[in-house]
Amino acid sequence: MAAFLQFTFSGLTVGAVYALVAVGFTLIYNASDVVNFAQGEFVMLGGMVTIFLGYAGIPVPLAAVFAVFITTMVGLALYRFGIAPARDASAVTLIIITIGASIFLRGIAEIIFDKRFHSLPALFGSDPIRIGGASILPQTVIVLASALLIVCLLWAFIGRTLYGKAVVATSSNRMAATLVGINTRTIVGACFAISAAIGAIAGVLVTPITLTSYNVGTLLALKGFAAIMLGGIGSAMGAVVGGVLLGLFEAFAAGYLSASYKDAVAFVVILAVLFAMPQGLFGKRMVERV
């Protein structure tokens, strides 16, 4: 029983990371139909910039705030120089542009930072909390709580504010939104910025657990993508549930089958979802009316 509980806690730890990456993906997808594969790089930048500002002498909390701000600017720049100029291109072209941006950001990070692994001090120390013979890190609880908080804030923003309604309008039908007087370029740009901020916050919170390096972004983006496929592309709650479920599947596969198959789990999940339930757990069924 203790082993099962421990696997659950391990799964929740990595699942929380995937959940935050997935939420970032969802926001941009909802606004612009673009799957932003540079989302993993935003997480990497959040952690790495905080660490290096910390080395430069800035206290860690302030460094974290700067890191989130800088990553938000990077997200805006990605939209302004990468996506906006290609405005009428197909979704596939835009996705390829984001893949190119992710490679570019990774290269820049390699040069500006270094190629080693780095860590940050945990917020409430690294003494684990013991429950029923298993242990969970306080940092994991913080990451999970933050994921929930961010989703609630996003839901409130989308549902209750005027700008949120504008995002919904833009995602339903961009032409109609423009006709009604919504500046769709600003809205999509804002979504990129918010996604980048969410990614950076995830990076700062998760680095004390998983360590970070210039190339952690790629695999994170792939697993975040598997999470949104599982949860249903376009649903924020689906993103969180998908991320946590993916983390749990990985931990149980590592615990009960073999640790070597851990990374394969995400890709098996994508295949299974596409075969059995393409809209995911919470996604809307795509229906074309003729």
Partner: protein
Amino acid sequence: MMQKIAIAALLIGLAVSGTAGSATAQVKVGAVLSASGPASFLGDPERKTLDLYVEDINRQGGVNGQKLQLVIYDDGGDANAARTFATRLVEEDKVAAMVGGTTTGTTLAMIPVFEDAQIPFISLAGAVQIIEPVRKWVFKTPHTDRMACEKIFDDLKRRKLTTVALISGTDAFGKSMRDQCVAVAPKAGITIAYEETYGPADSDMTPQLTKIKAATGIQAVVCAGFGQGPAIVTRNYRQLGIEYPLYQSHGVASKQFVGLAGAAANGVRLPAAALLVANKLPDSDRQKPVVVGYQNTFETKTGQSVSTFGGHAYDGLMILVEAAKRAGGFDSGKLRDEIERTKTYVGTGGVVTMSPSDHLGLDLSAFRLLEIKDGDWIMIPDSAS
């Protein structure tokens, strides 16, 4: 107008290539290192060491009057990339010798290239398979994984802990060390009762360690791997509250491991070269002047703490240079013969004496057993436990 510009460019080009021709007195030495990726805390100090000492050697006039030109490629820990770079070193750069191959995986991939080209290759990786069976053109400086197992098992026996669990990385070094430990365990009186593995780039080993914690009869845990994996194993080990002693291999012999593992590293024991405890060695120790000298130079010039990996690169370069001095040049055949004739070379890893059947030249006494305490290394003398 365009014609005049074209002629001017051609003349400048010829002039520049003319002056470049005078650099033919330089000898090229190749190095394919894993300065980035999961093995970066091995490859990065190796790179810095080679840069530092080649510059130093050149400043003092070079080897037999010839200056050395270091050609370094970063394979990122990928064996395929390493092999491509090795081919480039041999065919395009036409190097006289190679000091490199940070990891077992990259070294094994590159060996056929250098054997075919008949160019001496001094490897900086751990597995015993690199020099066993002995290959004519391949040598190595780090202690082998088999020696690490033997040193760890010696200490375990002294502490009367005979039933152990083994957790190893699935990379070439981790696998090789696991195989060596399984092979030497019966002779050493140790029983490996339980085994787990992890991927070298994994960020969470709690599932495997949970299973080890649940297994009965285990008295100690040995971790075979290098790079960031063992650091995460160590963090997770303490996080799960596992009480048995934890042993690591010499693949973590760097302050970076201590930094990444944090307070979890306290009490971890590992076999390592004397370099890590340079200042704590008795003055009568033969290695002391060499290790203290290297440590001071490296730490002053790079601002980073010394690691045994940089030390192995230093040994590799110096063995090459000494051999070249004895051979009177960098002719491949003579160079190789002189490397094989290295006798009582006092290096950071130990005192090296090679032979046609031994392309490493170190024995078990070259390894010291260390324990990590409060972010620093302390020596465990051979007679204590």
